[in-house]
């Protein structure tokens, strides 16, 4: 019968025992009988639904354990789950990349972290926990941005699985794997393909997809599937607020730069409770002016930090689906998901599985040069607007260069302040004034891709 008389005493004993256990677990990387029984069925036995390439063997397990190298991008809600799932599926050589540190609000789902870990790098703590809990597993952490690595790093992995919270990062990863593809006489060399498994979650919704770069739909092929980020029109924020959110955005975007409440040059730090408190109070004042109700601290914080609600369960489901696909591909045990699954458990449990199609003129994977059609009198600003606003391109801060009179000339670049200032006047010049010719190639760089995208400029009359 459960000991309900002295729960506190028992709990303390449990905590002590557990701490000892977590530390000891890592010392021996030894095997024990039956460890991989649950997986062996799928590696050693023939079956009616296996992949055509599948050959049952006792060596497949060794491949997973000793040779297969997996890269996990992100050590957050999905990343923690992925690391656990992969480690318990026989994968031992796992690298994990994450540029973030641990926050208290992560603890409701990122179960490899504890209160004492707040402030430490996610990748490091996650790797330590898994290596300690799963003997023999060797997770290598990288407290870095994905952009800090080049092709030589990514090329070493058999499969890459993403648990990111940013579309920009996904697109960059997508672009990186596309850049690794090798074509010989126009034919894709299959050994240059690194499969990308991508998972995403938001509240009770999630999706998992399998991408074979160069063969199946890539991230950019289905860019329109991603819902646009909510940005309220400036006139609403500035003079016609109707919702509590409008009031908070007013304070964040207009009032803060004007009043500089914490000093000159001190930007709004969304993680500083004092800053949020100030925004909250000012938002209440703004709302009162317009008889708008509903401002709470929680709402304020949510708007400023662009918080997306999150729970453990959705992350568990999506990461599990992704990890199952990694296992299928690494072992050839089954035909992988083809190629997109959507999940939603707001009302019962709903999934929809379909094959996302490649876009014929995808700016990332089609290798078809992208066309730009503008009148020679159009201003460069119009080209910039097109690159950012077009639904299939959705660039963030494109840098445009062109070869003029044999020299490589930067027409406009935003990301370096001095260059931005120097090239800003070009935005109001017409394409003809800038010396661009019909059929000219423009090279565009952007955070959404590691490679430059080539465009062909065609003049309309």
């Amino acid at each position: 019968m459960a000991d309900t008389d002295e729960p506190e005493k028992k709990r303390r004993r449990v905590v002590e025992l557990t701490e000892k256990m977590v530390v000891d677990g890592g010392r021996d990387g030894g095997e024990w009988d039956g460890r991989w029984n649950h997986i062996n069925m799928f590696l050693e036995r023939p079956g009616p639904f296996t992949h055509p390439d599948f050959e049952p063997s006792t060596e497949s397990l060794q491949f997973l354990l000793d040779t297969c190298k997996i890269l996990v991008i992100g050590a957050g809600g999905l990343g923690c789950e992925l690391l656990k799932d992969l480690a318990l599926s026989g994968f031992r050589h796992i690298h994990v990349v994450d540029m973030d540190t641990i926050d208290v609000s992560n603890l409701n789902r990122q179960f490899l972290f504890r209160l004492k870990d707040v402030g430490r790098p996610k990748a490091d703590i996650a790797a330590d926990f898994i290596n300690g809990r799963i003997p023999g597993c060797n997770v290598v952490p990288h407290f870095k941005k994905i952009q800090d690595f080049d092709e030589s790093f990514y090329r070493q992995f058999h499969i890459i699985v993403c648990g990111l919270d940013s579309i920009i990062a996904r697109r960059w990863m997508n672009g990186m794997l596309l850049s690794l593809l090798v074509y010989e006489d126009g034919v894709l060399d299959p050994s240059s393909i690194i499969p990308l498994i991508d998972g995403g979650t938001e509240g009770f919704k999630g999706n998992a997809r399998v991408i074979f770069p160069g063969m199946t739909a890539c991230i950019d092929c289905t860019l329109e599937l991603y819902p646009p980020q909510i940005n309220f029109p400036m006139c609403t924020i500035a003079s016609m607020p109707r919702l509590p959110e409008h009031c908070v955005e007013y304070v964040r975007m207009l009032l803060w730069p004007k009043e500089k409440p914490f000093g000159d040059g001190v930007g709004l730090d969304a993680d500083d409770p004092e800053h949020i408190q100030w925004v909250y109070q000012k938002s209440q004042e703004r709302a009162a002016e317009f008889s708008i109700t509903g401002i709470t601290y929680r709402l304020t914080q949510g708007v400023v930090k662009r918080i997306i609600p999150a729970v453990a369960s959705t992350n568990a489901v999506i990461a599990a689906a992704c990890a199952t696909e990694v296992f299928k591909i690494a072992s050839s045990a089954y035909i992988p998901l083809n190629n997109y699954m959507v999940f939603n458990d707001v009302d019962g449990l709903y999934t929809y599985t379909f094959e996302a199609e490649r876009k014929e003129n995808c700016s990332a994977c089609s290798q078809v040069p992208q066309d730009l059609y503008f009148s020679p009198s159009a201003k460069l600003q119009e080209v910039l607007d097109y690159l950012t606003e077009n639904a299939s391109l959705q660039m963030k801060s494109p840098a445009i260069t062109a070869t003029l009179e044999g020299k490589n000339k930067t027409l406009y670049l935003q990301t370096v302040a001095s260059i931005e200032q120097r090239t800003r006047p070009n935005l109001s010049k017409s394409l003809k004034e800038l010396g661009l010719l019909d059929g000219q190639e423009l090279a565009v760089a952007d955070v959404t891709t590691p490679q430059t995208v080539l465009f062909k400029l065609s003049f309309t009359s």
């Binding site: 009988d33 799928f42 208290v104 016609m240 089954y334 458990d345 707001v346 009302d347």
Partner: protein, 505 residues
Amino acid sequence: MAATKASKEQKYDRQLRLWGDHGQEELENAHVCLINSTASGTELLKNLVLPGIGSFTIVDGHKVSGEDVGNNFFLSNHSIGRNRAQAATELLQELNTDVSGNFVEESYKVTSSIKTFSCRVNNFWFYFHSTCLRLGSVLWNANVPFLVCRTYGLVGYMRLVVKEHTVIESHPDNALEDLRLDQPFAELKSHIQSYDLEGMGKKDHGHTPWIIIVAKYLEKWFSEHNSQLPKNYKEKEAFKQLIRQGILKNEKGTPEDEENFEEAIKNVNTALNPTKVISSGVDDIFNGEQCNDITSQTPAFWLMTRAVREFVQNDGSGNLPVRGSIPDMIADSEKFINLQNVYREKAMQDASVVSKHVEALLQSVGKVCGPYSCILRCCSLSSACSMDSADGEMVLYLMLRSVDRFYQQHSRYPGVYNYQVEEDISKLKLCVNSLLQEYSLNVNVKDDYIHEFCRYGAAEPHTVASFLGGSAAQEAIKIITRQFVPFNNTFIYNAMSQTTATFQL
């Protein structure tokens, strides 16, 4: 004390935005019980411990085996030979100090110990990894929700068994707005009348809410069409044209850029939906037994429902209370807020009428009534199931029942050892056929599935268990918090094709 409350708010912030402080309170007052700490079970518990469930108890008499450690994150190889319930409790407990974990080192038996458990705590749940009819009936009678889960090879399975579960806050994803444009209530009518579209200045014209615009033009349409709503595509297009003609034009005669008018045109199709007279689902609830026989024991849900029914029949002229919310739209602040308040005040008025009905029904309830209610009635485990076709996931369900039958006959599952796989295929086939016969199911189960289920050897791969654990935990949270709609009542996950299906059996 205040510090712990604040840090709990921080820790749980991301989930509080989904089910609110009241939902979290329900979760923290709940006590769940897991029978058999298999990987599916511990993964499920993990997803309850992390969000802060009050407490859990694991009942398991098994000793930890090497195989168990291989697929379970909450068992370590150092615990091989120890009791499994205890070992798993320790590592689950460690996830969250807010939660209290307990264990019982016994194999589950239907003994008096279950009754004693029920007396000690309320809100008891059982998760089981293989079916048990007797336990099911004990819990059914006690109205304790029972969730059966298992992972078998690449198949996940969940069955919800609860007599009745009522939900008020279902948070529907895509509910239609409740604008009452076809039958505006008095306050809305007079508010609409306060606008003079023809007489107002340019700025006001371009910042009038689209709801007002549609209402005004609807008045025009009514006068020309015998008070009939535009019914078909042709009429709706004509109505949209009517609105379009109302867009201000500049001196040259070109229409101005009036986004609010564009919004009005865009929303015509949905805005003109007749105010939904009671749907069949709500009708069922209104005609339910508990709704008719109100006693001093009647739970809050049924009191409220009856009060709403009284409202519909007496004060609402056949309509439910007004919802009170409107979507955001292009408008200046004052016009929008004023319009929003018209709807809000009417909603509060209606709610207080409902409240008076409740008082009149002998109890008072303080909640504002939401129209998003639903009931789940599930079948008890032993009720016969009827299936006509055997597509994808249904075949998997039949196979799961068949392997249980195999277990009953042979005291083991098919294909556990390599040498058994071949010979078990024909034995399993016999089980499948006897199952189909017993339930008079004229269904063809392909040999491939029988082979595949022998191949599984009752393995429980971690990733499939984790998927199921995540799905099941969220369903449990829905039942505990009484928010969002749980599945009803049988769920199958096919990891081979990454597809799922829900059946009501």
